[in-house]
């Protein structure tokens, strides 16, 4: 069992037990496997030498991305020894083997010391992501406004396109082409435009997602993904786009076929 403690000071020097050092810290020091480092707990006085037994990659966590801290992992007895109050800690994490019963474990741990509360990681994750849920709601709102605006844009585009073809619509109506045919043609065109735009939008989204993840991944030196283009997002965006195309095309078409053909020549 390992325990993680943040904010330790480390200096290179020779002596014993092993610790694990986060890759970023190892690069910063620099230290590699086999090197000896000295660690001291913040607020404590005891210093101890450790041998770097391994280097690990920290699990990406959006909650900690902006805090520029490092992580090292001690064997529990070593850490206990260095703590000012030895066996007293504010919190610690227990990783269970797969198949273990979290409920039973929680009850057991809580029974060990009065006042101990055990939470499942899901619950904690849920609690710590309220900020992200607010941000996500903002994103939804921005997306909705964008769709609305682009829908209006598409409508204007279709009206202008169709208006530019008044003479052609007039000719078709005069020679007996039905309003239905004309509406279908206009709607088909609008849907095609919307579909092509959706594909371009998804492609642009993919490129932007890649760019954002690459840039911020390098900036924070993390494998955390900052932007995600999920199949659900693609499907929702494309179907909304096509629906908007249908509406815009339909409105533009109905607008033009309501004019009697002989009046379509007039500007």
């Amino acid at each position: 069992m390992f325990i993680a403690l943040l904010g330790v000071l480390l200096l290179p020097l020779p002596v014993d037990p092993g610790i694990l050092v986060e890759r970023r810290l190892a690069e910063e020091l620099p230290a590699s496997v086999g090197d000896t480092v000295i660690a001291r707990v913040l607020g404590g006085t005891a210093e101890r030498a450790f041998v770097v037994a391994g280097i690990f990659e920290r699990a990406p966590d959006p909650n900690r991305i902006a805090r520029n801290d490092y992580e090292v992992r001690f064997h529990l007895p070593d850490l206990e020894q260095m703590l000012p109050d030895h066996d007293r800690v504010d919190r610690f994490a227990i990783e269970l083997r797969s198949g273990a019963d979290p409920e039973a474990t929680a009850r057991w741990v809580e029974s060990l010391a009065f006042g101990t509360q055990v939470y499942e990681s899901v619950t904690l994750a849920d609690r710590s992501s309220t900020t992200f849920r607010v941000v996500s709601r903002f994103h939804d709102a921005i997306g909705l406004v964008t769709l609305l605006a682009s829908g209006i844009f598409l409508l204007c585009l279709m009206v202008i396109r169709v208006d530019g073809r008044r003479p052609d619509v007039r000719t078709m109506r005069l020679i007996g082409v039905s309003r239905r045919t004309i509406v279908s043609a206009v709607v088909a065109e609008a849907v095609l435009i919307a579909a092509v735009a959706s594909v371009l939008g998804v492609a642009m989204g993919a490129v932007l997602t890649f760019g954002v993840n690459t840039y911020f991944g390098a900036y924070y030196d993390t494998t955390l993904r900052f932007a995600i283009l999920s199949p659900r997002i693609v499907v929702v965006a494309a179907s909304l786009g096509v629906a908007l195309g249908l509406i815009a095309g339909g409105l533009a078409a109905v607008r033009i076929v309501r004019v009697p053909p002989q009046r379509l020549g007039e500007r």
Binding site: P167, R173, I175, G176, V177, S178, R179
Partner: protein
């Protein structure tokens, strides 16, 4: 050069493909037709374009409507063709009382039994010559292969066999008008309405267009042509002269 003369078999006025009603001796019967633009039917404020027109056009006739500018020729043509509704009076086209048909039925009638040739050709610029001709056939539900074949035949008929895939902007005015004529007869109409079909063309090109019209008429298509072109008026079997919204003379041209 136009090689007007032989009409493709599919276009012979044999009634084979006419899906509506029986052959009619009277193609157009209009009585008491008035048309006031603007102010609905009131005398003051509106422009009275037609002031009571009676006319009967028989099958296979070639009629030319002549008269000074603004006398109501185009208006009469539009009303007779079911494009525009008269303010008063009745129009019967191919046995159908136009006043009793809704826009859908009138459009269907125009599509299947009426052809149109306009002064400014009115081809769709994005379509090729063949596609322009195929458009009314497609709307009428003619199968793709038949459309192809018929549009080729029609382009041959109007002397543009080699221009199948050219678009209107690549064609001269006369060529565009020939494509327009091919389009007008694509669904083998009983009657073709033409509003100044040579109005934008020089005399030599006009002569080619005239040949096509002669050929169509010779094969049994009723023609109603509004024109300022004395040559058309000379060729037509019947000339209706209009003035100020009325018919002032009607008869065979003096040859």
């Amino acid at each position: 050069m136009s090689r007007a003369g032989r009409l493709p078999d599919a276009l012979e006025r044999g009634r084979a493909a006419s899906n509506l009603a029986d052959p009619v001796e009277v193609v157009i019967r209009a009585s008491g037709v008035q048309k006031v633009y603007g102010r609905s039917s009131s005398e003051e404020g509106g422009v009275a374009a037609l002031r009571g027109v009676d006319v009967v056009v028989a099958s296979c006739e070639w009629t030319a409507i002549v008269g000074p500018s603004g006398c109501g020729k185009s208006t009469l043509l539009n009303v007779l063709a079911g494009i525009d509704a008269p303010t008063a009076g009745t129009v019967e086209l191919l046995g159908n009382d136009l006043g009793r048909l809704d826009e859908r039925a009138r459009a269907r009638l125009r599509l299947l039994r009426v052809g149109f040739v306009f002064q400014r050709f009115h081809l769709l610029p994005v379509l090729t010559a063949a596609e322009n001709i195929e458009l009314p056939m497609a709307e009428a539900g003619v199968a793709r292969r038949d459309r192809r074949q018929r549009s080729r035949e029609l382009l041959d008929f109007v002397g543009l066999g080699g221009r199948t895939d050219h678009r209107p902007p690549q064609l001269s005015g006369g060529e565009q008008q020939r494509v327009a004529i091919a389009r007008a007869v694509a669904n083998q109409p009983d009657v073709v309405f033409a509003d100044e079909p040579t109005g934008e063309l020089d005399s030599r090109t006009s002569a080619q267009i005239l040949e096509l019209f002669s050929s169509l008429n010779a094969h049994g298509t009723t023609l109603l042509t509004v024109t300022h072109d004395p040559e058309i008026a000379r060729r037509a079997r019947r000339v209706i002269e209009m003035s100020d919204g009325r018919i002032v003379s009607d008869g065979r041209p003096a040859r």
